[in-house]
Symmetry: C2
Subunit: 245 residues, 2 copies
């Protein structure tokens, strides 16, 4: 990033290199989840905390939607709201995530209350929503590019969890199937937008930093889960405490 601006292909390669180094599929907690090395209580803690991310995604998308300048861009981004919030009660990604928390045995009212969240989960997710609210539209769109890497992690997650955990069923994991087509569609758009609009060195640095930031959000969520529930397993005051196995 010290010389001329990158070509669109070079910029895409640099974005993909960030994912190859920093996307949370590389995190030890993720591998433990997929390899069946977690207890039911640890899987519950993951599902509970990840719910906060899911339920704030529509707020993140609406914040950006409100700032987009054209109907074309707003229609594109509005599709994400439909994906997450659905068209009727019980539909959409957030509702499907609650099927997952149901499926692993969590009380739905407790999940929705957010009372058991790790504070670090809340701080990381809120940082993401604030980033999208406060930064340029280009940076906000670039921060969604972790979806470039999500089909792989989702495939690993579904196969691994179904294989290893007897308390996980295909219905429990209903959240993930639509994401396998939604995420590539969304990241195709975001990538094309970034390739076209990040022309100057400063703009290109900003989009690379935005993706790095977003990777850090996801990574820090797994750090906090790992610390609280796996190793050393020190649950902070007030956070969800699994029942003894």
């Amino acid at each position: 990033m010290t010389g001329l601006p990158l070509s669109p292909d070079e910029l895409e390669a640099a974005l993909r290199a960030i994912g190859a180094e920093r996307y949370h599929n590389l995190h030890p907690f993720h591998r433990a989840l997929h390899d069946g090395r977690l207890t039911k209580g640890q899987v519950q803690a993951w599902a509970l905390n990840r719910y906060y991310y899911q339920c704030r995604i529509p707020a993140k998308d609406a914040t950006l939607l409100a700032r987009l300048p054209t109907a074309e861009l707003r229609r594109e981004w509005r599709r994400r709201l439909v994906d997450h919030d659905g068209d009727a009660p019980g539909t959409g990604g957030v509702a499907r995530w609650l099927k997952l928390t149901d499926g692993v045995g969590l009380d739905r009212a407790y999940v929705e209350s957010l009372e058991g969240l790790l504070p670090a989960t809340r701080f990381a997710v809120d940082a993401y929503v604030d980033f999208v609210r406060d930064r340029s539209i280009l940076e906000a769109i670039a921060s969604s590019l972790t979806e470039l890497f999500s089909p792989t992690i989702i495939s690993e997650r579904v196969a691994g969890m179904l294989h290893h955990y007897d308390f996980v069923t295909p219905e429990t994991l209903a959240y993930f199937q639509p994401r396998l087509t939604q995420a590539p569609r969304d990241s195709d758009f975001a990538l094309a937008y970034v390739r076209e609009h990040a022309r100057t060195i400063a703009e290109q640095k900003a989009v690379l930093d935005a993706l790095t930031f977003k990777c850090a959000v996801l990574w820090s969520m797994l750090d906090a889960l790992d610390y609280a529930y796996v190793v050393p397993g020190r649950i902070p005051p007030g956070a969800f405490t699994p029942e003894p196995a």
Copy 2:
């Protein structure tokens, strides 16, 4: 908190009970720091990350100052800015914290660049600044009440670090001495304000929640340090990596 509003004394007791359960002097990382069980690199990681907290405190205080309605309140709160930013270059709490990072062998430009921060540190501290910006003045003032508990932790910290670490000198710890008088003065004011202004059940719940939130900010910073640098010792991508001992 289910019956009548608490009396001021009962409210103070409830606030102190939160500190007794959730203040970060109870965190294993804090105990390891004081007991001399950390390496120089681990102490460096603590000083580096805590610097971000220190350097954002004036922003936090200025945000609240801008919202206070009377000259009397603003003068009171302005004193905190003087404490942290000083009256001349090299004075004030932030400058004294840089003496600490100097003293433990960190490059000052690297510290001030914030490049090596744990993302979790940034998210937690930013959450605190945002809380003070976005919540009621009563909640913002209540969130400063962790200072009720800081003289104890500072005394432990100074004595323990001087005793156990040959790379720590009284000059390195110059930050802490003024805090032993500043913190009680500040928390006396904040406590009196909260005792007087938190009258309804809703107000009292809000101030108790504000202190709980602030304790979670400090606690989660130590969770992240412990996870990254002590146990299991998994440094997230891009964060400060100590030199081999």
